[in-house]
């Protein structure tokens, strides 16, 4: 994107390798045909958002809170817990009071 104000200018389009890499980062299994279909779609969207680079932004702070609001502190008290069975109630697999997953240590 050609952002004025010193932002870097990354490559403007994605290729099949990039789509597969990003899908992998997002932990999304994609087939070759899905990835191929995504290339032009993503490029269309990225070309379109490219216009943001036209906007002059020196001295403009990125928005962090849309409505000014101060973060509150609450009483230092336990207000939850003791609901193990509720926490596990929707787990695809729960055993002995834990979430169960495929073996991760050989």
């Amino acid at each position: 994107m050609r952002a004025r104000g010193g932002a870097s200018a990354p490559a403007m389009s994605v290729d099949l390798t990039t789509v597969k890499k990003v899908a992998s980062l997002a932990r999304l299994a994609v087939t070759d045909s899905e990835a191929e279909a995504l290339v032009p779609e993503l490029n269309g969207i990225l070309d379109w958002v490219e216009q943001l680079g036209e906007v002059d932004v020196p001295g403009v702070e990125p928005m962090t809170a849309v409505i000014p609001n101060k973060l509150r502190l609450r009483e230092d008290a336990v207000t939850d817990g003791n609901v193990r069975d509720k926490v596990l109630a929707n787990a695809p697999q729960a055993e002995h009071g834990f979430f169960a997953v495929p073996k991760v240590i050989e």
């Binding site: 994107m1 200018a9 932990r27 994609v30 943001l52 036209e54 849309v66 929707n90």
Partner: protein, 493 residues
């Protein structure tokens, strides 16, 4: 007497109080309409027993002289709000069968106010869409049809398309919606009803399945402005469980309704009058200007110079937040798990997410992941958040010279199902007038303004300064009283 299912929330509330009918009669009438409208596919799950239980309680409360604000009123609940013991899916295969063990703050407030639930309403998957065509549970069909004699199925708008279709078809008198970039206002416009997105932080996000947390805001959808005020009063309020919840008292919006706009200024943003604006949309906008003048307001031109950048900024910010929020769907804690033979944990994540998410959700996760990735973050995400600051500043400046802004809600009337689904950008452009207020966190509502030449509803949007829902509702009511919008879909379902 009119059919019970034709009544507004206020009419049901007041008629029930006056003893004109029982809450059970109301619930049974709406339950029957829900059961007879499967062709619209507005509900993912119907909950007639919930509605009847609340009605029976309301009838008891009335006998005991212990009426609540919404006693006797059954409503629809968008299936993005977690409801204890009732499947909550966000219209995704990922959450099919997910049965929350807790209740969202907004839905709990409505039940505490005496309302009952007719069912969980269909929506775009994870609220990502503008036509309700991304639901895993099938398209919602708008009850409206063009006046050309054809039967082309039309979009009810999105993402709150089940809510809009159900209200327009008299399956419920009111419903919850959520609005991230127009998801209350655009479906309201497409179906000839009203809907308001309040100031960001008015309604707790706790228990609402997250899409883009800095934008997501719940609000009501209903037949008219008064009903929106009544519903919003019973949805809003401070909640310590949402760190962005506004610690402010809930105004008495219904009691504050007034259509006397003398001394008020209505801003018309010149940048919204884009070249090629649909002639019907422009006509209804002009009508709206005339109605607000008639109500005593002065009309002034205002400028929102960064308007054209709102939609591209939104399509960086919203997918970025979505890619982070949707990382939670991992096949471990809740929802779907896909475990191919011999798969390890990483394979399981990827297979689960591939099987559970629909194409639009995947598209947005990948865009979001890309714009947040190393080397691209500043050029895309930081730049978009700077543009967002400028968009919010535009509104702040405009509100120095006006009290509310009047604009179209959407650039066209409802389109046919399938017309835009293959072109993501064409679909995204539906929200061109709705997204700026979302990026600025401002209260905004859509009210019916008239019909297109095809006989389809068109909405007018009123945007107000932060915290001033009252000004938005009052201008909306002034339009409503002058628009005389009585059109309704002919029953074909």
């Amino acid at each position: 007497m009119a059919e019970l299912t034709d009544l507004t929330v206020a009419q049901i509330r007041d008629g029930f109080r006056a003893g004109d009918f029982s809450a059970r009669e109301v619930a049974e009438a709406f339950n029957a309409n829900v059961a007879a409208a499967e062709a619209l596919n507005a509900f993912i799950v119907a909950t007639p027993d919930h509605a009847l239980a609340a009605a029976d309680q309301a009838d008891k409360d009335r006998a005991a002289g212990a009426l609540k604000p919404l006693s006797g009123v059954p409503i629809g609940m968008k299936d993005l709000f977690c409801t204890q013991g009732v499947q909550t899916t966000a219209a995704s295969h990922m959450l099919e069968g997910f049965t929350p063990t807790y209740e969202s703050t907004v839905s709990q407030k409505l039940w505490d106010a005496g309302a009952g639930m007719l069912g969980k309403l269909n929506l775009d998957q994870f609220a990502m869409g503008s036509s309700n065509e991304t639901s895993y549970f099938g398209n919602v069909i708008s009850p409206w049809r063009r006046n050309d004699g054809g039967n082309a199925p039309l979009a009810p708008g999105g993402s709150s398309g089940g809510s809009s279709a159900a209200i327009a078809a008299r399956l419920c008198p009111a419903a919850t919606g959520t609005d991230t970039g127009g998801s209350i206002r655009q479906p309201a416009a497409f179906t000839g009803i009203s809907g308001i997105k309040p100031t960001y932080g008015r309604c707790s996000r706790w228990g609402i399945i997250a899409f883009a947390s800095s934008l997501d805001q719940a609000g009501p959808m209903a037949h008219d402005v008064r009903d929106c005020a009544i519903m919003l009063e019973n949805m809003a309020g401070f909640d310590p469980k949402d760190s962005t919840s506004l610690e402010l008292p809930v105004p008495k919006w219904e009691a504050g309704l007034s259509t006397d706009l003398r001394g008020k200024k209505v801003g018309i943003p010149k940048e919204y009058r884009v070249e090629g604006l649909d002639a019907d949309v422009a006509r209804v906008w002009d009508d709206g200007i005339a109605w607000l003048k008639d109500a005593g307001a002065e009309v002034v031109e205002v400028s929102l110079p960064h308007s054209k950048y709102a939609l591209p900024a939104y399509y960086i910010i919203a997918p970025a937040e979505a890619s982070s929020n949707l990382a939670r769907y991992d096949g471990v804690r809740y929802g779907l798990r896909e475990l191919p033979e011999g798969a390890n944990l990483q394979d399981m994540y990827a297979a689960t997410r591939a099987a559970g998410f629909g194409p639009e959700v995947k598209r947005r996760i990948i865009i979001g992941t890309y714009v947040l990735s190393a080397g691209f973050y500043d050029a895309y995400y930081t730049q978009a958040q700077k543009v967002r600051t400028l968009i919010a500043r535009d509104f702040a400046r405009a509100f120095e010279s006006c009290d509310v802004i009047l604009a179209p809600t959407a650039p066209s009337a409802a389109f046919g199902l399938g017309e835009n689904i293959d072109d993501p950008l064409a679909m995204y452009l539906n929200d061109v007038f709705a997204v700026p207020a979302s990026l600025a966190g401002l209260p905004a509502m859509s009210v019916p303004g008239g019909l297109s030449k095809d006989g389809l509803p068109l909405g007018l949007q009123i945007i107000g300064p932060a915290f001033d829902e009252q000004a938005v509702l009052n201008a909306g009511l002034a339009i409503e009283q002058r628009a005389g919008f009585t059109a309704r879909p002919q029953k074909w379902w």
